[in-house]
């Protein structure tokens, strides 16, 4: 059901924007199709290997280990560890999300995975070194990182509070 809604939203947006581009009659439509093709070629092999890799890793890693390191009961230390793992996870969103969802399935706690995804987004080391530092500059990058530092932990703590509240109410 939910997956249908997400797809409808996506394709609805594609149709609306596609119409706007089409009506311009200036090659915008064709240009965006070309861009989409380039991106699809870039992304397709990555998704393939990311999904396979995450699946196999989930089958390999003992669930008890995942639960012990980043499970529900690991508290703030688990949040810190999950944030560090998020920071050092290389690659694009498919790999990070594949790893995160696999970890959830084999015993990772929701707050910990919220911290993982947030840290991957805010201060992924690989992306910061390869893209942000050289393009944006060292100083601005470090300033941004400094204010972002506690956010994954804070969001993880908030997620934990919400889960606790939901458990009490539910």
């Amino acid at each position: 059901m939910n997956i249908v809604i997400a797809s409808l939203l996506l394709y609805g947006a594609v149709i609306v924007l596609g119409r706007i581009a089409w009506r311009r009659h200036d090659g915008s439509f064709q240009h965006s199709l070309d861009l989409a093709k380039v991106q699809a070629r870039l992304v397709a092999p990555r998704i393939f290997f990311a999904v396979l890799g995450a699946g196999f890793i989930a089958a390999l890693v003992p669930p008890e280990l995942v639960a012990a390191v980043i499970g529900h009961d690991t508290g703030t230390l688990g949040l810190v560890i999950a944030s560090i793992i998020g920071a050092i996870t290389p690659g694009g969103p498919m790999l990070a999300f594949a790893v995160g969802s696999a970890a959830l399935e084999v015993g990772g706690g929701t707050p910990q995975i919220v911290a993982f995804v947030t840290a991957w987004g805010l201060y992924n080391v690989n992306r910061t070194m390869v893209w942000e530092m050289p393009i944006v500059g060292r100083r601005a990058t470090l300033q941004r990182l400094a204010v972002a530092l506690p956010v994954p932990i804070l969001l993880g703590l908030a997620a934990g509070e919400i889960a606790r509240l939901a458990a009490v109410l539910g």
């Binding site: 989409a36 998704i47 890799g53 699946g55 196999f56 989930a58 969103p93 393009i135 941004r144 204010v147």
Partner: protein
């Protein structure tokens, strides 16, 4: 590397793919050897099913990102946003980060363009945070494909205010950029005065 920032538009490019492929193949081989063929093929089947279910969304995602790239030219967005400041500038920057499609090769050059157009460290921070935590394209295509939707709503909801808060924090802490920010404010005032 910092000496020639623009050298090589895709510095990691296929090295990234190579790493992901190597990890997948190694994990697959280990899985076959350590867990046995049965687990290997069961996992492989699950993965293929997941891939099939993701496929239509990925197609929509690349179409959407192509369309948005053409319809919202980066230089225009940068010029338009760079001149706004104050709280409104932060909200708009976070929003732009959430809406504009594209990977780091889009986001970081656009951040530079924002700075050139007069944005301060707060706006830049809000933009990058919006892009990295709230990007709609990424969430609709990737995050919702992999995670249960409850999880996505929780994470996304918790992150909603983060770009503005981080932008405010960056603005308050790093005073040097405050001067720049007020310069942008003056510009914005002049602009609105001219209207």
């Amino acid at each position: 590397m910092p000496d020639h920032p623009r050298a090589g538009r895709r510095p990691k490019g296929d090295v990234g793919l190579l790493v992901v492929a190597l990890v997948a193949i190694t994990a697959g081989a280990l899985c076959y050897v350590l867990r046995g063929p049965e687990v290997f093929f069961a996992t492989f089947g699950d993965d293929l099913r997941l891939l099939l279910s993701i496929l239509p969304k990925v197609l929509a995602g690349v179409l959407l990102s192509g369309l948005l790239t053409v319809l919202l030219p980066q230089d225009k967005v940068a010029r338009w946003m760079g001149a706004r400041s104050g709280l409104r500038g932060l909200v708009l920057a976070g929003l732009a980060g959430a809406l504009l499609p594209g990977g780091p090769m889009m986001a970081f050059p656009l951040t530079v363009a924002l700075g050139v157009a007069g944005a301060d460290i707060g706006t830049a921070t809000a933009f990058i945070a919006g892009w990295s935590l709230l990007n709609l394209n990424r969430t609709l295509v990737w995050e919702m494909s992999f995670f249960a939707h409850d999880f996505v709503y929780l994470r996304y909801g918790l992150s909603l205010l983060v770009p503005v808060l981080l932008g405010l924090a960056a603005r308050l802490i790093f005073a040097r950029s405050k001067a720049k920010g007020s310069a942008a404010e003056n510009e914005a005032r002049n602009e609105s005065g001219a209207e």
